[in-house]
Symmetry: C3
Subunit: 142 residues, 3 copies
């Protein structure tokens, strides 16, 4: 069984945002799969997806603080600077964190750890909504 849907994630401020429910609410078809994989793919090069701690918001704030230091803006050697000082670092952050997730499905649910959630990592100062492709593949519950 294959199912695919292109969905929009609401525009967010620069930073790391928990979007597990926003995604799951748009793919109720997942509940019919007994064993499978959900692929989530973000169609952008200045935002990314990762899985991390879903409870304490300071983790997400520390992610923003850390990545801003690890991938600084305005480095003298950057050449791709015409779209703003946040643009080049956005591309780098997006490749470090990645643009797709592959999560096991078990008995109609994502088989995440109890503390895991899906983050939208918004690296631009000003972004509109973001498009992700959700692809479900698995065997149907009998």
């Amino acid at each position: 069984m294959w199912f695919q849907k292109e969905i929009r994630l609401n525009a967010r401020n620069r930073g790391f945002h928990l979007v597990t429910d926003e995604i799951l609410n748009q793919v109720p078809e997942l509940r019919k799969i007994s064993i499978g994989i959900m692929n989530v793919f973000i169609k952008h090069t200045s935002a990314s997806l990762t899985i991390n701690e879903n409870a304490d918001p300071t983790v997400r704030q520390d992610f923003e603080s850390y990545f801003n230091r690890a991938v600084p803006e305005n480095e003298h050697y950057y050449q791709h600077i015409f779209e703003g000082s946040d643009d080049g670092p956005s591309h780098l952050k997006s490749s470090i964190l990645g643009c797709s997730l592959n999560i096991p499905i078990t008995n109609g649910k994502l088989n995440l750890g109890i503390w895991q959630g899906i983050y939208l990592c918004e690296h631009r100062n000003s972004a509109s909504n973001r498009t992700v492709v959700v692809t479900l593949n698995g065997q149907l519950s009998s």
Copy 2:
């Protein structure tokens, strides 16, 4: 053909550990697949999975040394500090390295390069065993 199993990886010290055989020994079903994909997903936010050099143990030691410098503990700006100085950096390392692998299966074996092996990246000072979900999908050998 779908097959899924939740397995435990033995508790390890903080560092990078080769676990290819420990995983493969627990999913003999892989041998029946002629073409497919194995997804390995770790259900934690302070440990991660990656693929790298499987022969020289100093590579794994250099990984631990490097990531401890690239993601230092006790930075003044960290807010998520109540679970110990190793906890916040664990979350960051886990998102940089990733929580899942997707490896091609060919003729009943993982189609890894000759020097590739699966690493469990244990980022906590003190951890118990770690749970991973292994999902196999492919066509059966005739």
Copy 3:
């Protein structure tokens, strides 16, 4: 429907290189899939794969400049040094960027964003061609 092929990517200089067309030209079978996933897996530990900006070559140059600073050569604490100063950092870069991609297929094409392309990230000073396994899985167009 499953299809798998091991292909060679031409040898490249150290740096980041757009290889979307070089890969797609070797898997015309993709055109027959209405919904699916393409997995691309590189069988090496000193080169990697990522998805990023496909238009401006300075983005790829900034990637090389950035990762050379983020993962420097000749650090005093490196132990794995006998294959050259570029070798240890190659392994680290490869795990930060990753060795596999999972891209949705829609109506016979990769469902990439308009600015997204596939990069071969060559981390060695001198490399020969690189082997990747392409695995297609999906449902056939009717």
